[in-house]
């Protein structure tokens, strides 16, 4: 859990620094001048505020450039809205509006129909980093850390100096609460600039409005694409989107059924590491080891708990606090040797192979689709499920690398494809055996789109900006298995297609010579023209009878009823313009080269 540890490090930062200073001065106490220097340096050492840290390292949170800042802000707000709606079992209806204020400034307004936020929580949720409900729970959700939206508020204030405006209402009969907030970046505390109640013509919900510096572009990695991809894997969501160009795009919900609400679970013993176990032993309220395993973990019954203790040569009645590091190590070994049922999976709510495929059909007009949902697996005690779907052929471009759409807990991942476990798994898969071309260790080339979704109580991202899934071997393996399952289906389709293609070629080849057979027979036995025609007809019939009916596997663009051409275009507009730009560039370069050549001549 990369980000968890980083965050913990940050929290601990102060004490570690102070220890260092003490040791430093001890070591150099014999040398007065260095002692003086140390004291001088010590004066400069001071606590780094979490907010301050992230203000300086905004790239860690997805604010590396203006374009991405806009997307990250929308993404964080939408993710939060969706999480809130789903937890409250409300079909989400989210409005996203961006207004171009000129001078690279944008106003972002995100409004949902969620349950709303109680008054006293509003400032902390929106203006305090690392404040949230999701970090400490093992349950599948989009947000995990309690950083995202407050980071946007902070970014807004850093780039425009403006406060963010929040309205939230929790009951139709209560007024809405209104706040204008900023963050005190040194103390990581909300600064309330204005606080009021107002009438809001809405039963419940939350609305955030913030101004920030950004750049709006269409195409890949745009807000447009993010919202579209979100709609693909969240068919129960309606999104009303107004672009800075004042175009309105509506992604209507395709189903009224809410995804199953995931349950919260305790960690599973498999994959729990020594350090975590020791920490848990220290913090537990339980009195015996047997109780400890039964209460603090999922899927450990009294039998399994006893067995773990037995294998570790410890009494089940041992007090958890008495367990030494060496004993804990034995417990870890014992866990590995004990059969424990896989973690419960109701903590994860997969999209489902069928819906995933349906979403893909809407986006891509292909000739072949398939999808798979893997059984749950565990990495470091966290259950997860991998789902994959692929679309092959049809209207997709042929000589390009595979189009990979990555999702984690129903959130599209648009950046850092190269660093993602999904990409790694794609590269490790032998696509040649499924009929695609691939240079070794690379992403395959062909008219193909692959969707991979990882659903987990805790998705391990490579950074706080949640752009790529970390390379855990268990995760890569599961992704690979899911891909291979799809790949095999594709391979079978490709083989069938080839077979039919070959058969078709053979048949056409044979048919070339049928008139010659008929002509020769006509000459040999003096047939009339009419008889000769009959010979040809019969020969075609005999051929058909002998070789069987030929299946048609040709791509039919009108076959896919799910395909939505307008929808598919979103997020792709710019590519053509870019291509034109590139062409212009090449032309220019060529011209320069020619000129240079002329001068040489």
């Amino acid at each position: 859990m990369v980000q968890k540890t980083l965050v913990e490090e940050l929290k601990k930062g102060k004490t570690a620094d102070e220890n260092e200073i003490k040791e430093d001065s001890k070591l150099r106490s014999t040398d007065d001048s260095s002692k003086a220097k140390a004291h001088e340096m010590a004066k400069l050492q001071r606590e780094i505020g979490v907010a301050e840290f992230f203000a300086k390292n905004r790239h860690l949170l997805g604010f590396d450039n203006k374009r991405k800042a806009l997307l990250t802000t929308v993404k964080e707000a939408v993710d939060n809205s969706l999480d809130a709606c789903e937890e409250a079992a409300i079909l989400p209806e989210i409005s996203v509006e961006m207004v171009d204020m000129g001078n690279d400034r944008f106003r972002v307004i995100v409004e949902d129909n969620g349950p709303g936020i109680v008054k006293k929580q509003i400032p902390n949720i929106f203006a305090k980093l690392l404040y949230g409900s999701k970090f400490h729970r093992l349950r599948m959700s989009r947000g995990q850390q309690g950083i995202g939206i407050s980071a946007s508020v902070m970014y807004s204030q850093l780039t425009t100096g403006k406060a963010s405006k929040i309205v939230s209402k929790i009951h139709p009969k209560e007024p809405a609460n209104y706040y204008e907030l900023q963050i005190d970046t040194q103390k990581n505390k909300p600064e309330i600039l204005k606080e009021a109640t107002l009438d809001w013509n809405k039963e419940h919900g939350t609305r955030i409005e913030l101004d920030l510096e950004g750049t709006y572009q269409k195409g890949t990695q745009s807000v447009d694409q993010y919202l579209k991809q979100t709609a693909i894997v969240n068919p129960h969501v309606t999104i009303i989107y107004t672009t800075p160009k004042a175009e309105q795009i509506i992604f209507p919900r395709a189903t009224e059924i809410l995804p199953k609400i995931p349950h919260e679970i305790k960690p599973h013993p498999y994959g729990v590491e020594l350090g975590v176990l020791i920490q848990m032993l220290k913090n537990t309220q339980t009195k015996t080891l047997q109780q400890f395993f039964g209460d603090e973990f999922s899927r450990v019954g009294p039998g399994a708990a006893k067995q773990i203790c037995e294998i570790a040569r410890l009494l089940p009645k041992t007090r958890p606090s008495e367990v030494t590091i060496e004993m804990a190590d034995r417990l870890i070994q014992a866990i590995k040797e004990t059969k424990i049922i896989a973690p419960p999976t109701d903590c994860i709510s997969p999209i489902g192979a069928e819906l995933l495929e349906k979403g893909l059909k809407k986006e891509i007009n292909a000739e072949f689709y398939c999808s798979v949902t893997r059984p749950p697996e565990v990495y470091r005690g966290n259950p997860f499920i991998i789902e994959a779907a692929l679309a092959y052929g049809g209207e997709q471009e042929k000589e390009v690398p595979m189009n990979i759409l990555r999702y984690a807990n129903r959130v599209p991942l648009l950046f850092q494809q190269g660093a993602c476990a999904t990409t790694k798994a794609v590269q490790q898969t032998n696509w040649r055996s499924y009929g695609l071309s691939q240079s070794s260790g690379a992403v395959p080339v062909g008219p193909i789109t692959l969707v991979v979704h990882m659903a987990s109580v805790w998705v391990p991202f490579t950074s706080e900006s949640k752009e790529a899934i970390a390379h855990y071997p268990e995760i890569i393996k599961e992704i690979r298995l899911a891909i291979q399952e799809c790949g095999r289906k594709l391979g079978m389709y490709m083989a069938k297609k080839k077979l039919i293609g070959d058969e078709f070629k053979k048949r056409s080849y044979i048919e070339i010579y049928i008139p010659h057979v008929a002509d020769a027979l006509k000459e040999l036995i003096g047939l009339k023209e009419k008889d000769k025609e009959q010979v040809e007809l019969n020969l075609h019939e005999i051929l058909e009878k002998k070789r069987g009916k030929l299946d048609k596997l040709e791509f039919d663009a009108s076959k896919n009823a799910e395909f939505d051409e307008e929808f598919a275009k979103i997020g792709k507009e710019i590519e053509k313009e870019v291509k034109e730009e590139v062409k212009e560039e090449i032309k220019k370069l060529k011209g320069e080269k020619d000129e240079y050549q002329d001068r040489l001549d």
């Binding site: 053979k506 080849y509 044979i510 070339i512 010579y513 010659h516 057979v517 002509d519 020769a520 027979l521 000459e523 040999l524 036995i525 047939l527 009959q534 010979v535 019969n538 020969l539 019939e541 005999i542 051929l543 009878k545 002998k546």
Partner: protein
């Protein structure tokens, strides 16, 4: 004799009827290779053992199926109009067949050979003739032929060609022979033939000299066979001592080939004997040699493994193994080492006197 025209029509009708009944039409042809022949010295030549191949509406055979029918149609026309077409001309005729045309002459020759084999006839009987020369003849022989225009009898005296020779025609069935010679000497190379003609060896030895010029053509084989059969003359074969001289030239003359096994019965000379040059001659006459080439070694192995004729005779197996172990080969004309006319004065008289030095 068979009636190829009727056979062609019958086969065509059979195919037509099958098509009318919506059944798969096909042509069945014997496989033309050593794998499809057996050798029995009582019979005297390679006989087909009945392995067949099918041509039908399959991707691998449809083209040759159509081509075979096309060529049968051409043959029918040739027989009906009493015309002939050379192999090369046939290849050019196919250029009218659109996609069914031949791209190279060997393709056309193969289809022609298949039809011959299917009808069990010689290609001349179905109107096709080769371009190849039959072979040259000199010696005590009068060939009785007909004038091509007047049909009057023509007597050709093979002693009267001076330093030249009589050339065997493509078709020899109508020829008659008069001779008082004692034997026929069939020679591989034109060079050796020239030397023997130059010194009128045929007069000295009272024989007929025939130059085969490599592997004997069908006409040459048939000519020797008819001459030998009718005038009761023994046939002695004089070729280079190498796997080609033995396995291709001599073997084909004596027992025919796998490729044209359907006509071996008529186009072979079972009474032929291998006079020389034998592997033992290389030693006995201390002949200058060349090393065996890789292709020769391969050919020896192939003969020892696959040729039913060689497999029948221990003497031949020994001779070939001897050649293989010497790793040498010798040409007929190597005898010139002992003097240009050593072959006439010493080698041939010696060999003729000593049938024990021959090979079967």
């Amino acid at each position: 004799m068979s009636n190829p025209l009727k056979d062609i029509k019958d086969i065509s009708k059979e195919i037509y009827e099958k098509i009318l009944k919506k059944k798969l039409p096909s042509l069945n042809m014997p496989i033309r290779s050593l794998q499809n022949v057996s050798y029995d010295p009582k019979v005297g030549y390679f006989e087909m053992i009945g392995k067949a191949k099918e041509r039908t509406l399959a991707a691998s055979t449809i083209k040759t199926f159509a081509q075979s029918l096309r060529m049968m149609s051409l043959s029918k026309e040739l027989i009906e109009t009493d015309d002939i077409a050379t192999k090369r001309e046939t290849y050019y005729v196919s250029k009218n067949w659109g996609e069914a045309r031949f791209h190279e002459q060997p393709e056309s020759d193969t289809v022609m050979d298949d039809i011959e084999a299917m009808l069990m006839v010689n290609r001349e009987q179905i109107g096709f003739i080769p371009e190849e020369k039959g072979g040259d003849v000199a010696g005590r022989l009068v060939v009785i032929d007909k004038d091509q225009e007047t049909n009057k009898e023509l007597r050709i005296d093979c002693t009267k060609f001076g330093s030249g020779a009589y050339s065997i025609p493509a078709s020899v069935e109508h020829l008659k022979f008069e001779t008082d010679a004692k034997f026929i000497l069939a020679i591989e190379t034109a060079g050796m033939f020239q030397r023997l003609v130059k010194h009128k060896y045929w007069q000295k030895a009272n024989c007929i000299l025939i130059s085969m010029g490599g592997v004997p053509t069908r006409a040459c084989r048939r000519f020797i066979r008819r001459l030998s059969d009718e005038r009761k003359l023994p046939v002695y074969v004089f070729v280079d001592c190498d796997p080609y001289g033995i396995g291709n030239i001599y073997r084909t003359l004596k027992v025919g080939s796998g490729n044209a096994a359907h006509i071996n019965k008529f186009f072979c000379v079972p009474q032929a004997k291998y006079l020389g040059v034998t592997p033992q001659d290389i030693i006995d006459y201390n002949l200058p040699t060349h090393p065996l080439l890789e292709i020769d070694v391969k050919k020896i192995k192939d003969l020892l493994k696959n040729d039913p004729f060689i497999l029948h005779y221990k003497e031949w197996q020994q001779a070939l193994k001897q050649l293989d172990s010497m790793k040498k080969r010798a040409e007929q004309q190597a005898l010139a080492k002992w003097g240009l006319n050593f072959v006439i004065e010493k080698y041939l008289p010696d060999k003729l006197k000593n049938p024990k030095t021959w090979l079967p």
